[in-house]
């Protein structure tokens, strides 16, 4: 594959443009299901697109005395990272051979970037509420990354490889005890990675009025929102590849149907969790992830090692 193709893949399909559109559609699903749960009507299909388009034509205000360069570059970091992560995932899904050894490690790093972007942006914006939000984001990330990586270890141990292609062809971990435990851990961590209720304390509208993102407006804010939507689309795909990879067999249509169903169930779990829980405090979240969640993740790793 030549260099130009990679750029096209990154910008159009399955990278930025595709992930953005799919992400915004997922965001619509989120908003519509949320509305149905809350006995509301909910937005029309294109509402998330209108929202993002409108933000892109709005003025960009920068805080006085903040680190302007960092402030404006921070949203790009997350956006680029998610687009790249999505591209790697989709290339593996479309062609099992088109993967490279260690791409799972790259993915883990790429999925850290959006949180890092929020952190950098919040500290660059020189606002007390933003810095509280930023420090919560740091604590939250420290809390969920450990169990997340432990959970990802389970499919890795079972397949004996850190290449996505091998994970997709191996026996699906979800059929084992350790795989189920690891999936549960991953769902909890996914909720935190997406910073949605009950783990939305970095933004906490009613506590910090937007917290980490309080100073953002216009296109940079749109990029953060877009990143969030793309994460909502991409993270369930990561879990799909990790835990249900081997189920995606048979004719093409069958693979797509199974894949879509599993993805939709994962997104639905996220949405339902978000609508049936209150926001927890940051100390409670850290205790939750380092306590029960990490223990379950460790048990899963040990079980995976023992071949369960």
């Amino acid at each position: 594959m030549n260099g130009n193709m990679v750029i096209v893949e990154f910008l159009l399909f399955p990278g930025l443009l595709f992930t953005a559109i799919a992400g915004l559609l997922t965001a619509w699903v989120d908003r519509k299901v949320t509305a149905m749960v809350q006995m509301r009507v909910g937005p029309p299909l294109l509402q998330p697109f209108h929202d993002i388009r409108k933000l892109f034509v709005k003025e960009t205000c920068v805080p006085e005395g903040g680190a302007i360069g960092l402030f404006l570059l921070a949203p790009l970091l997350g956006l680029a990272a998610v687009a790249l992560a999505s591209m790697i995932l989709w290339r593996a899904l479309l062609d099992v051979e088109a993967t490279f050894v260690g791409d799972l490690i790259v993915l883990i790093y790429l999925f850290v970037m959006p949180a890092l972007g929020v952190m950098l942006g919040s500290f660059a914006s020189r606002n007390p509420l933003a810095s509280i939000g930023g420090s919560r984001e740091v604590k939250l990330m420290i809390a969920y990354e450990l169990p997340m990586v432990l959970a990802i270890l389970v499919p890795v141990i079972q397949a004996g490889s850190i290449r996505l292609g091998d994970l997709l062809t191996a026996q699906p971990p979800i059929l084992s005890v350790s795989g189920v435990l690891a999936l549960l851990v991953s769902i909890a961590c996914m909720q935190a990675k997406l910073t949605i209720v009950p783990f939305d304390m970095p933004e906490a509208e009613t506590e910090l009025s937007g917290g980490a993102l309080i100073e953002y407006s216009g296109p940079p804010l749109a990029m953060f929102k877009l990143t969030r939507a793309m994460m909502l689309f991409t993270l369930p795909i990561l879990l799909l590849v990790l835990f249900f990879g081997g189920l995606l067999t048979g004719p093409v249509w069958q693979r797509w149907v199974i894949g879509f169903l599993v993805w939709f169930v994962l997104v639905a779990i996220t949405i339902v969790l978000r609508n049936t829980t209150p926001r927890v405090r940051i100390d409670q979240a850290v205790r939750f992830f380092w306590g029960p969640v990490s223990v379950v993740a460790l048990v899963a790793v040990v079980l995976a090692w023992a071949g369960w």
Binding site: R40, V197, P198, A204, T206, E207, P278, R279, R281, I282
Partner: protein, 407 residues
């Protein structure tokens, strides 16, 4: 991080729907000091009231607060009735209690929804407000209005309830029970709500008494104060109901007290409907004037006791009208409950007293704490304003207005 920073909640903040200013002095995430600044929304209601007739005054105080829009008028007409020894027909008393209790249910549901929203639990918010619509529909059936009912007048109520409407109202209020039961179970059983609200923002009984806390804020701290029972008015001494109290005084208990009170309200409404079926007669004694004298009126608003004082000189207007809303007593308890909590808890604690700022507003005066002198008066403000105009004129090079004000 031991550097002390200020986290502002207000003057305009997503947490509160009204202008108010809580300065949280925080070290890290811990609140170490709290400044409460009110006075952004002062409207001079008491002074306005002195220029209105007794009938108009009721409409004026109804607009003190959109949520307690029966509590203020009811306290106000009781004050006028007290001042002029005006009799009230018995049927009117039951209608007053009924509208008052419906208002309590809608206010508590509104609070419950907001509390859910503050915790990030938006489903509770939407559901509570969805079922609040049913209450507003009943109120619309009875009074013709969803929120400002215009029901109270000195000597009775403005509208009678038709006998033929009573069964429909009874079945509608029966229909409120299931949603409220659902909310009770959702709050009492949800472990995450426990984690966020139990043991948070505890107001001890001693402190509730010391601060003079009122209403659900006090009752959650096991301080059974309820002016409906302690100083009977309307029909509250003619129906059977209980004062709900809780033990701990934390946010959880404040929620539980309010939810259980809604059941008591439905009980009162049901009994009022039964009584209204039996009691006929007029609903208005139609007084022509309020005799000279002074009177007080209490009503247990959803947030606590609202108090009105009226002095009449025998003319058709009050010469003094004093209003004290419950939030005036409840908001200062935040100093007891917020300090020591984290920022995350502070918001729900601030909201747990169900503050109503437009009821509470007083004119704010800045006083030097050491000398006791006023720091700014009207003359100073005019001087500052003129100086700014002068500065603008000097900077712009324009002529500017000539200011004939003495400085």
């Amino acid at each position: 991080m031991t550097k002390r920073t200020i986290v502002p909640i207000g003057p305009y903040h997503a947490l509160q729907e009204e202008p108010e200013f809580f300065k949280l002095h925080v070290e890290g995430e811990k609140v170490v000091h709290l400044d409460i600044e009110l006075g952004y929304n002062h409207r001079g209601i008491e002074k306005l009231s002195e220029s209105k007739t007794f009938e108009e005054t009721v409409f004026l105080v109804e607009r003190i607060c959109g949520i307690c829009s029966t509590s203020h008028p009811l306290a106000c007409v009781q004050a006028a009735e007290d001042a002029g020894d005006i009799p009230v027909p018995e049927r009117a008393l039951f209608i007053r209690s009924m509208v008052g209790e419906l208002e309590r249910i809608h206010s508590h549901l509104l609070w419950l929804g907001l509390a859910g929203h503050f915790l990030g639990f938006n489903t509770i918010w939407m559901w509570a407000w969805r079922f609040r619509e049913d209450v507003l529909n009943i109120l619309e059936l009875i009074t013709g209005n969803r929120n400002h009912y215009g029901m109270m007048k000195p000597g009775g109520v403005r509208r009678d309830i038709k006998h033929t409407d009573l069964p429909a109202i009874a079945s509608l209020s029966e229909g409120l029970k299931d949603p409220i039961k659902m909310f009770r179970d959702a709050v009492v059983q949800d472990p995450l709500i426990h984690a966020r609200t139990k043991g948070v923002g505890i107001l001890t009984r001693e402190m509730a008494i010391a601060y003079g806390a009122l209403g659900p804020t006090a009752r959650a701290s096991n301080y059974a104060i309820d002016v409906r029972r302690d100083h009977p008015h309307a029909a509250y001494d003619k129906v059977d109901w209980d004062v709900v109290t809780c033990e701990n005084g934390d946010v959880f208990d404040k929620a539980v007290v309010r939810i259980l009170e809604m059941f008591e309200s439905i009980r009162i409404i049901e009994q009022c409907i039964e009584q209204l079926k039996k009691i006929g007669g007029p609903v208005d004694s139609d007084p022509k004037f309020v005799a000279a004298g002074e009177g007080i009126g209490h009503y247990e608003a959803p947030r606590g006791e609202v108090f009105h004082y009226i002095r009449s000189d025998g003319s058709n207007r009050p010469i003094r009208h004093k209003v004290r809303a419950p939030s005036f007593m409840n908001v200062p308890t935040n100093r007891e409950t917020v300090i020591g909590a984290t920022v995350a808890d502070a918001t729900i604690i601030l909201a747990a007293v169900d503050p109503c700022y437009c009821c509470t507003e007083r004119m704010a005066v800045a006083v030097d704490s050491s000398s006791g002198e006023r720091m700014l008066d009207a003359r100073d403000l005019i001087r500052l304003s003129c100086e700014k105009t002068d500065r603008l004129v000097a900077d712009s090079g324009l002529q500017g207005p000539s200011l004939p004000i003495e400085r």
